[in-house]
Amino acid sequence: MTVTLSGGPESTSRAAAQRVSWRSSVTARWRTNTSRRLAFGYMLLAPAALYVLLLVGIPFLFSLYLAVSDANVGDQVSTFVGLANFRAAWEMDSFWDALRNSVVFLVVAAIFKSLLGTSLAFLLLQNFSGKKLVRALVVIPFTLPISVSVLSWKWMYDSQFSVINWGLHKVGLIGAYGSESWPIWLGQPQLALIACIGVNVWRSFPFSAIVLLAGFTSVPTEVLDAARVDGCSFFQRFRHVVAPMIFPILIIGFLFDTVFTLSDLSVVYLLTAGGPGTASMILPVLAYQIGIQAGSLGRGAAIALMLVPLLFPALFLMLRNLKRRDW
């Protein structure tokens, strides 16, 4: 067959033949089980992808747009200002205080939630009467409306009528109201942050416990029995058998917890509004005060986006670790 560069009836028929063969190969491929399963898989994934795009992707892109604009709550027109909002945030002392407090808040809360969550999960694994009732009760802090629970804590931390202080005074650990040793939970800089972390831990550690409990119950008893027969102690079983087996669950739980803690606005806002001074100021509260209450959407968005560099490396490392383990 001669191929002509200028085309002609021969080349046309050849192109038509190629099209037919391409179509038939596509159809053939489509007819294979693999490709059909692949397409079906994508179809099933589509709603989730759409959900992520609509509820995560678009708001994220919108906040990026706000952060590089001079958007204001009362003005429909905004202009591009580059990185001016980020620079303005970096010039604020309160931003650096908020960043430091956010990191301290995250790390300290994570440590306590891990310890308390693990302990509680082990306790709930044991057999005892009223186990179901206890399991239901421990999730109460997590299920209560946050405003109600934080209001209760505000009363417990009250400078004058604190039930915590009353208890400590009754057992002789602190002096009477008005004495130097009477703690002002929400008024002393270190105590204010500790008090906020305390409420966050109280609210969230049942979630950690339930996630861990789900993991523990998924470990086959035969494996644990085998380890026991091999002479493993409780901690060895936990370290070398249980932890590796529930690692994916641990990581997912940790991811959720990191995101929830870093973006927790309500506890600090309702307890101290970031005070006294900037002692308990965290990034979400600062972003809310500047972005919504003061109306500077652009700067508020820029401050809120500062959470991303904090979250991203942690998420990246955790997800990479998960992938490497081939789960």
Partner: protein
Amino acid sequence: MSDLRPTQTGPASASRRRFLKVAGAGMAGASVLTMLEARQAPAQIKGSTLRILTWSHYIPAYDVWFDKFAVEWGDKNGVKVKVDHIPHLEIPARMAAEYAAGSGHDLILNNATILARLYYKSLVDMTDIYDSLGKKYGGWIPAAKSPIEVEGRIYGIPMYYILLPMLWRKDLFEASGLKPPDTWELARVAARTLKPKGNPAGIAFSHCNDANLNWRSLMFSFGATETDPSGDNPTIDSKEMRETLRFAKALFDEGMTPEVFSWDDASDNRFLASGIASWIHDAISAYRTTESTNPAVFKNTFVAMEPAGPGGKRVSVAAPIVFLGWKFSKNQQAAKEFMVHLVDNDKEGMIQSTGYNMPFLNDNAKKPMPILGVDPKMQVLQDFPKIVGFYGYPGPYTPQIQEVANLFVLPDILTRVARGQSIDDSLKWGVGEYRRIFAKHKRA
């Protein structure tokens, strides 16, 4: 002899038209008169719905009255009225959401955080009813325009303001031979004398509205100012401000306890009701609540005139309450009619709030005011309208001042000083924060 036949003035059809015109005009005039007589609104608002967003008043009985009052007005004018109450701190977020959505309430109340200057491009111009109400009631008090005026136009109707006077324990003062707290110096002496006896004084230093309001009263009474009259430039870096900070530090060290760093807006109420406080500087709700919670304290608690600063100046910084209306509201006419009706019943509102709501209109502020005029302890509040100021004094209540207040910059300057940082360093930090916020708004 004159012709008795009727004169033909034009074609018959023109007469009919004229008859219809005259009859129509007569009917319309009669309707207007009837409406005015019956205090009814124009017919075009009939069948419409008026949605009002307001705060949860510190005096719950006022909310009950307001809701009933609004519904009754609606029934009378054929308007369906819906009133929603939310905590006042949530109003800015709700306004932002309604603005973004382009729909929401027809009238929105702002309390302390006045957003008129931030949203004015999207708010209904209420200059007409502001002026007519001013004429009708002898003018507005001087501070009234500050939160709602932008470029000579008025974008809201001031409803009332909340005073934060000095509430002091007469029994404790007298037992120690102390004079009533007529000046800040006398208040400091009282706190210094009574704290060792177990009765400290208290003003919040924390991130709450009370801290923003009370410390500004002290600051302005000391002759310090927040902005120049244009509102464009912060003026806190002054000799008077340094004197204010020195005084506040001494007041804290000598007469208060560290709990003032943790207070919210209700903590000083509890502090007074517990019987411990020698004095607090707070809204009269603190005084009112003791009536039921601690009658002995109530009996001995008195309300004082705003204490004078070293130069004899008195400025009482109050929390203004205004109503704003969205431009996108489909029921602006009903909103305006309701505003007028509400202001016409201002005195009833004062009664229902048990004297908590202070009037913006001069005629309503004349003595004797309802409730306040007949209560010997509270009569002094009738002298406050002439010394009332708002954030930004003597300048207007601008968005930059609003941001300064939202970020609690002033209470934070005072907190730094009270906690031992030098006055110069604290003020330097504060001036930096003010300038940064003002510069940002200037750029915008």
